[in-house]
């Protein structure tokens, strides 16, 4: 796991306080496996936007399913900027 992936997992763990960090895998599905609710997703997006200085559009949010998807999205959009 690279630094960015570790940071993403840390941030997700910060939002999903009921989830044990050891149980968050890159392949974990955020809603199905980790039990995130709509408010958690909103909170997570806001935090990721602040942390990585990017904007995540609603269409992109819908495409993100796994922790890996989050990391990939950030990698792509950080390169672009």
């Amino acid at each position: 796991m690279d630094d960015l992936e570790t940071r993403v997992i840390d941030l997700i763990a910060e939002v999903l306080v009921d989830v044990n960090k050891e149980n968050i895998q890159m392949s974990s599905k955020i809603v199905e496996d980790l039990g995130a609710e709509s408010l958690d997703i909103y909170d997570m997006i806001a935090l990721l936007e602040d942390e990585f200085g990017l904007e995540i559009a609603d269409e992109d949010v819908e495409k993100i399913q796994t922790v890996q998807d989050v990391a990939d999205f950030i990698k792509q959009h950080q390169k672009a900027s």
């Binding site: 609710e37 408010l39 909103y42 909170d43 806001a46 935090l47």
Partner: protein
């Protein structure tokens, strides 16, 4: 159980009160500051009054600052709240008090009278809550208190705009209370009746007398009567209260 005086303390908390320069708003600012909160007094046009409120707060040993912005503008609101959060780290208590009235019988009510009242009294609350809720969600803690009105619950002739906005605010309060409850953000409304020194000062003495005759407690309310309910809802004494409308109306509407 903690002693009630410690439960009512707002030490270390930051409060934002819209329309804080006059009437109920200024009483709320003083009450929250007296209980230890750092109070941001928002105003739109009356800077001198806002400075008076702040001077009063400092005289009582309280702390805070004034902030000019128009709740009708989402951009102005976003900038102002970002500045407060940068400065204070968070907003713990938001009191949506800014409100105007533009009374008239419906046949003679201009579009602008309708739009101005809806824009300030309802859209303004939407703008601020959208902006402030983000930080409250992060903090997993917050209190939002929306000042409604008996007019929004019972209706008032000559005030279809004001009554609609204030009724809308109650629906808004309940929806937001459900939405934010999982993050320990409590959203309530305080609904004042006839309060002296506020918007009801536009009424004549005869009208006021006729109104008093309908108030079971036989008097108009004071701004402090309303501010006390706001303080209660802001405090640790109201940890299990959300989505409610607390009426401060002397029994005028039950």
């Amino acid at each position: 159980m903690a002693h009630p005086s410690s439960m009512i303390s707002l030490q270390g908390q930051t409060a934002l009160v819209t329309g804080g320069s006059r009437g109920i708003g200024s009483a709320v600012c003083s009450m929250l500051a007296s209980s230890g909160a750092f109070v941001v007094v928002n105003y739109r046009s009356s800077e001198a009054s806002a400075q008076d409120v702040m001077a009063g707060i400092k005289d009582l040993g309280g702390d805070g600052k004034i902030a000019r912005f128009d709740v009708c503008s989402g951009d102005e609101v976003d900038r102002a709240t970002a500045e407060i959060i940068q400065d204070r780290g968070k907003i713990d208590i938001l009191v949506n008090n800014a409100g105007i009235s533009r009374d008239g019988l419906i046949g003679r009510m201009k579009d602008q009278d309708w739009n101005d009242v809806l824009s300030t009294n309802l859209s303004g609350v939407f703008h601020i809550c959208r902006s402030v809720s983000k930080s409250m969600i992060r903090n997993r803690k917050g209190r939002i208190i929306n000042i409604s009105s008996t007019a929004g619950e019972a209706g008032n002739p000559g005030q279809v705009n004001y009554s609609a906005a204030k009724a809308g605010l109650i629906g808004f309060t309940k929806a937001l209370a459900r939405e934010l409850a999982p993050r320990n953000i409590l959203v309530n409304s305080v609904s004042p009746g006839i309060i002296s020194g506020g918007l009801s000062d536009q009424l004549t003495e005869d009208q006021l007398e006729a109104i008093r005759a309908h108030v079971p407690l036989r008097r108009t309310g004071t701004s402090d009567d309303v501010a006390a309910a706001v303080l209660f809802l802001s405090s640790g004494m109201a940890d299990y209260i959300t989505g409610q409308v607390i009426r401060v109306n002397g029994g005028l509407y039950m």
